[in-house]
């Protein structure tokens, strides 16, 4: 008989799952519940329930029963369930639910467990804990193998006759070789019991049949419980044939078989499509996606999900060198400091004249660069000055940059910072160990200056920015000093966010943190968390602040401009009142530069995508990405759901009235003798009218260019007025479009569904692509746009009104306004910053807001005001 491979069919799979008997279901349920429960942090379920040989005593006997139900991790649970479900289903179908319950709660887990404990503890003297239902899997496999052996004693492998009962043994060996962390001995114990059962030696363990019958009859279990398998049924199994001979063993000629299948599952796909239960799932599923997405993010700060940072690149060797920046250099620093203090009121060019003298006196090559940017009707200009220290041991192919902006991000004079750069330039020049060039850069400000310099260094500068007269090699890293006060400091604040949410390699940050805290004893903090107590709340706050900065995508310091060019960069800001002096700061820089000097290749070893919880704890992309992806997937699920829904014919009750007038084409269906005439429409998926919805969605996405252009090209004085005008217009616009649509096109319900489907599809698509580039922005926008998933033309005015209020609150303009109010900024200032970001930094956040989020919002509100046309009678 030719073995016919079982064909996978979704319908059959579904019906199989729905036919699973009661005990199997409950075991699966219990395993899943325990798996989910094992994720809480309060109570260590695994430790409580595992079979640990040394722990087994009279009071802890429960372990012999609980261990098969508890699993470690997703894969363990998943694969065990996949293996267990079909075997258990067969067992239950054969023996009945009650027997299975009695056996699996009792001897089937206890005996192998005791056997295992005995061998492991008594004979081998070890103490390996075991967990998971795989022991049952092997027990059941062994019983199945015994059954097979009776009907079919051996199979042929080459010339050798292999007895069939051996297959579970082979499997145990393979599993223990292929799958890590599996208990060979535990599986063997399971097998031993299974063979014993299969050969009939252990049948006495099963409860007597008359007792079961009595219980069953008294409690009327068959009538009360769904999917219950009776003790009586077991005689013939549930299928009328013995379950050991399943369908694949029945040898039907292929032709017959085909007909049988044609008759049974002739319409698998369309059945699935029209199943009302299946059509109800997606909205809940997508809601679940959002909830899990948010919950996922919230558990990240827990110890189990975040990791301690570590240095990945061995060449860095942070803090391994002795630092010599001290002693007489402090006098040099004081001298420079005095000079810088004196230049506080000077013009840019005069300052640079003086700085040039200093650098030249240190024996460095100096050059200057003028730049001028225009943005929102304002001009930002200045002159950068930089000096290059050529590496005594290098060939000018690589360079590291030390930056001190003349004024910092807040506009304060960076007096100690600039003085420190000058001192370090003089100090570094004395050393002969540099293998990379060092560039000392003093920019005129912290926003435009660094951008102009980096752009020009890579020859991508705009008009108005001068080219650099002198250059060195490829930039390997940049460190910025932001030290605008005179007094001593307590700790270092490390700023690391780049433009558009790009981050420097985590190794750079780790190096600085480990040098500061390990070598120098200076604490390091992130994201303005001046007091970090390492609690959940503080970790979460740090992470959320980091996400906010990343999501906004603006420059948080002079270092931000370097990061888009794949130059890893950070800003160091001393803060607080403490006893660390400027020399300690200088030593941190010195040690960092020595580490960077060690690099053999560009920083690449460690993570580029991470969220930091505190200076020594992070989550990597693999752990956090699913949360944003889940939020984005929610849109995609709904889009697919709506597409399917729009294609299926409307429910029959709405049709009854119009049947008599239907004039659509009829199809004649002949089946054997019967002939039926069916409207063709019922048979084919409904044609979709997708031009109008597609046009509206694509049109609104293109319309997004308008606010993008307006907000980036308006003089700053007009920005607030334009913003308020636009906000007002923004609330009216969807209403206007919606009424235009209803008047001139009268869209049907299907078209509204397609409108939403396309809009959500685009949203999901953009956000999941964005999540790979700027996770935080994708997550934030996904969350703010989440209500769009459930929007539709509601019948009830109350819901519509509520939704209108919600949508008005979640409009991009309202969110922007709320943000400015919350952070106490003016709308004008924020918009000016955004325009500056667009013109100078190449920030892309606006594009996402106006061309992804805003169009989605507009289309959402259009649906809210939409009135689907009632289907005209007679129109097929």
């Amino acid at each position: 008989m030719a073995p016919s491979l079982p064909q996978f069919s979704a319908a059959r799979m579904r019906s199989y799952v729905f036919r699973l008997p009661l005990f199997t279901r409950s075991i699966i349920g219990v395993i899943l519940v325990l798996w989910v429960a094992s994720y809480q942090g309060v109570f260590d379920l695994v430790q409580w329930g595992a079979l640990i040989p040394k722990e087994i005593g009279i009071s802890t006997m429960y372990r012999t029963n609980t261990f098969p139900l508890i699993h470690r991790g997703v894969f363990h649970t998943f694969f065990n369930l996949i293996a267990l479900a079909p075997l258990l289903e067969r067992f239950e179908a054969e023996y009945g639910t009650l027997t299975s319950l009695a056996l699996f709660v009792g001897p089937l887990s206890t005996i192998p467990a005791l056997l295992y404990t005995f061998i492991e503890r008594g004979i081998l003297g070890m103490n390996t804990a075991v967990l998971g239902s795989s022991i049952w899997v092997f027990t059941l496999l062994a019983t199945e193998a015994c059954k097979t052996y009776k009907t079919n004693p051996s199979f042929q492998l080459g010339t050798v006759q292999v007895p069939t009962w051996i297959t579970p043994l082979v499997m145990v060996v393979f599993v223990s070789v292929l799958v890590p962390n599996t208990s060979f001995l535990g599986h063997l114990c399971g097998l031993a019991f299974g063979y014993g059962w299969g050969l009939g030696y252990l049948k006495f363990l099963a409860p007597p049949e008359w007792a079961l019958r009595w219980i069953e009859g008294k409690l009327n279990l068959l009538g009360r419980l769904p999917h219950y398998v009776s003790v009586d049924q077991k005689t013939y199994g549930r299928f009328g044939v013995l379950p050991t001979t399943n369908a694949s063993n029945i040898s039907l000629p292929t032709g017959d078989r085909m007909q049988v299948e044609m008759g049974l599952v002739g319409t698998s796909g369309s059945l699935l499509r029209r199943d009302p239960r299946l059509l109800k799932v997606p909205p809940y599923l997508s809601f679940l996606c959002i909830v899990i997405g948010v919950a996922w993010l919230l558990v990240l700060p827990l110890d189990n999900y975040s990791r301690k940072t570590y240095i990945s690149e061995n060449a860095l060797l942070p803090g391994q060198v002795h630092t010599y920046f001290a002693g007489s250099d402090q006098n040099v620093f004081r001298g420079y400091k005095r000079e810088v203090d004196g230049m506080g009121e000077w013009g840019n060019v005069e300052v640079n004249d003086k700085l040039e003298e200093f650098f030249k006196a240190s024996g460095l090559k100096v050059a200057r660069q003028r730049y001028e940017y225009t943005s929102a009707g304002e001009t930002y200009s200045g002159e950068n000055i930089y000096a290059i220290l050529h590496a005594p041991r290098g060939d000018a192919e690589e360079a590291i940059v030390l930056v001190g902006a003349w004024t910092n991000v807040e506009g304060e004079l960076n007096k100690s910072g600039v003085a420190l750069v000058l001192t370090l330039a003089r100090y570094f020049k004395r050393w002969s160990l540099w293998s990379k060039d060092i560039i000392f850069l003093i920019t005129a400000d912290s926003r435009a200056g660094p951008q102009a310099w980096v752009d020009a260094y890579h020859d991508t500068h705009q008009k108005g920015v001068q080219s650099l007269p002198v250059k060195s090699g490829a930039l390997q890293g940049a460190v910025v000093i932001d030290y605008p006060f005179d007094h001593r400091f307590e700790s270092l604040h490390v700023v690391y966010d780049g433009i558009n949410g790009q981050l420097p390699n985590l190794d750079l940050l780790n190096t600085v943190v480990s040098i500061a805290s390990g070598q120098m004893g200076i604490g390091a903090s992130l994201q303005k968390m001046w007091q970090h107590t390492d609690t959940y709340k503080d970790r979460l706050t740090t992470m959320l602040r980091g996400m906010m900065n990343q999501g906004l995508g603006h420059a948080s310091g002079p270092h931000s401009s370097f990061i888009p060019y794949h130059v890893d960069a950070i800003t160091l800001q001393p803060y607080g009142e403490g006893w660390q002096d400027e020399m300690a700061m200088g030593r941190v820089i010195e040690s960092t530069f020595r580490s960077l000097n060690n690099l053999l290749e560009h920083l690449h070893q460690s993570f580029f995508f991470y969220l930091l919880m505190q200076s020594s704890r992070f989550v990597s992309i693999g752990t956090y990405l699913p949360s944003a992806m889940l939020v984005a997937v929610n849109f995609t699920i709904m889009a697919i759901f709506l597409w399917v829904k729009s294609g299926s014919t409307p429910s029959p009750d709405s049709k009854v009235g119009s049947t008599s007038e239907k004039s659509g084409p009829l199809a004649i269906i002949k089946k054997e003798d019967a002939v039926a005439i069916v409207p063709e429409e019922l048979l084919e998926a409904r044609e979709r009218d997708f031009f109008l919805p597609l046009g509206v969605v694509v049109g609104s996405h293109f319309l997004g260019v308008l606010p993008l252009y307006v907000f980036n090209h308006t003089p700053h004085a007009l920005l607030p007025i334009i913003f308020y005008l636009f906000s007002a217009l923004n609330l009216l616009l969807p209403l206007l479009i919606s009424s235009t649509l209803t008047h001139s096109f009268a869209p049907t319900l299907q078209q509204y569904q397609l409108l939403k489907s396309f809009s959500l599809l685009f949203l999901g698509m953009f956000l999941s692509a964005l999540a790979t580039l700027n996770f935080s922005l994708a997550f934030l926008i996904g969350l703010l746009a989440a209500p769009l998933t459930y929007i539709q033309p509601f019948k009830s005015t109350v819901i519509t009104a509520l939704y209108v209020v919600l949508m008005a609150l979640l409009a991009p303009t309202s969110v922007l306004f709320a943000g400015t109010w919350y952070w106490n900024l003016g709308v004008g200032a924020v918009l000016r910053e955004a325009a500056f970001g667009w013109d100078v930094w190449g920030m892309n956040t606006q594009v996402v807001v106006w061309c992804v989020w805003w169009p989605g919002w507009v289309v959402g509100v259009i649906q809210l005001f939409g009135r689907p046309r009632v289907r005209e009678k007679g129109k097929a």
Binding site: G269, T636, M765
Partner: protein
């Protein structure tokens, strides 16, 4: 003249959109020219400029190993004013080529070959889009527009293929073969379209050739193609002064020395491969690509136009240097079979996969090349997804057409769910 006015309106609008994009965003053409999704080593406009420079300075354009395109393009572009000083002339040429392609497409649609070929008449043929809609779908397809702005030379191949088909459906086999020869001369792979195309010509042959047998018809046209190709090669020999061009153009397509990333599947595979297996797998890949021709031609003998369309889809996936221009050609031809769309099952899936890949491709390329935080696997994974989406679309369309044929044989199965066993 209402009809003509619609044509003028569509063409005018398409030309205007392209011209606006060219002129309003002066950085755009160069940006798109650099995109690997649009420009491949064998079609890149930048490489054409390099070849042109060498040609204008009387150096063999194939010196330096950058230029891999047909020699006849050189005199053509040398006649145009330089694209540096007079870019608008180049722009106009590309816009014109696109419009010529659309015009040919419109003619194919008008012939009604999609719904009813001479051997087969679909029961659904009433459901179709007009030629204007099909031409508009081609002209306003973002892929086509991006291709036009990126100015790869594959647009000339596209134009030639479309003309070959449009001539074949009216039965003028001579012109059709001429166009096919030009397409093959420019890009080599269109020569694989010969079998279905000749059948299409044969099915639609004029009254004069009505008595020709298939064999004599085919052999006559094979001679024709051979003659055209020979004269084109000889012309190229005269232009470049040596036969070196064969190796640098067709040799590159066959042997794949340039492994610049593209949307296809070959580059990554051949980067990873040990050199000793290279020749073997080159053979396997080419064999795979060409093996579809015979099978499809025989199976779909009654609808040769659909064979051509499916082959174009397969080429867009499995060619050595595919680009989105090949995809746009396939997507342009597919609406000719509008009547089988209701039978397709995975359109939404396939199209959203393609859309996802379109967005994620550039994002991952950016992460790999510019941000440095990704690597080649990122981009390759997306090209796999892209190819997957395209293959679902191709297979689904093929299924729909086969189903359509099957329902003619077995009308009682109309509208019933079927599955393959």
């Amino acid at each position: 003249m209402n009809v003509e006015r619609r044509k003028v309106a569509i063409f005018g609008a398409a030309a205007a959109v392209r011209f606006l994009l060219f002129t309003c965003f002066p950085g755009l053409p160069d940006l798109l020219t650099g995109r690997v999704e649009i420009s491949t080593p064998v079609t890149s406009f930048k490489r054409l400029q390099e070849g042109l420079f060498l040609y204008n300075h009387n150096v063999s354009p194939y010196d330096g190993g950058v230029y891999h395109q047909a020699p006849i393009l050189l005199p053509l572009f040398a006649l145009l004013p330089s694209s540096q000083s007079w870019p608008s002339m180049t722009y106009l040429l590309y816009i014109l080529v696109d419009i010529l392609s659309a015009n040919a497409l419109m003619k194919i649609a008008k012939s009604g070959e999609g719904g009813s070929s001479s051997l087969y008449c679909s029961p659904r043929m009433g459901k179709k889009w007009s030629g204007y809609a099909i031409a508009a779908a081609f002209l306003f397809n973002p892929f086509t527009i991006a291709t036009c702005i990126g100015r790869p030379t594959s647009v000339f191949t596209t134009c030639a293929i479309l003309h070959a088909i449009s001539k074949a459906v009216v039965g003028s086999s001579f012109t059709s073969m001429f166009a096919l020869s030009i397409a093959s001369y420019l890009s080599m792979y269109p020569v694989l379209l010969f079998p279905p195309l000749i059948l299409l010509c044969y099915d639609r042959r004029g009254p004069k050739q009505q008595n020709d047998s298939l064999l004599s018809f085919v052999s006559g046209n094979v001679m024709g193609v051979g003659g055209f190709l020979y004269s084109l090669f000889h012309m190229s020999y005269i232009i470049t002064g040596s036969w070196e061009f064969i190796e640098s153009t067709y040799g590159v397509q066959l042997l794949l020395p340039d492994l610049t990333p593209n949307v296809g599947l070959w580059w990554y595979f051949f980067i990873e491969m040990f050199d000793s297996f290279r020749n073997f797998f080159l053979g396997v890949f080419w064999l795979h690509l060409s093996s579809y021709v015979a099978g499809l031609t025989i199976r779909l003998r009654r609808q040769p136009l659909f064979v051509i369309i499916t082959l174009l889809g397969i080429f867009a996936i499995f060619k050595p240097y595919p680009s989105i221009s090949d995809t746009s050609l396939y997507l342009a031809m597919l609406p000719l079979y509008r009547h089988v769309f209701p039978l397709m099952r995975y359109t939404f899936l396939a199209l959203s996969t393609i859309l996802y890949a379109t967005l994620l491709g550039p994002a991952f390329y950016y992460l790999w090349i510019y941000a440095g935080s990704g690597n080649a696997n990122f981009f390759y994974a997306i090209t796999l997804v892209w190819s997957l989406g395209l293959s679902i679309l191709v297979a689904d369309a093929l299924f729909a057409v086969l189903r359509d044929e099957w329902e003619v044989e077995r009308p009682e199965m109309r509208g019933k769910e079927i599955r393959q066993i």
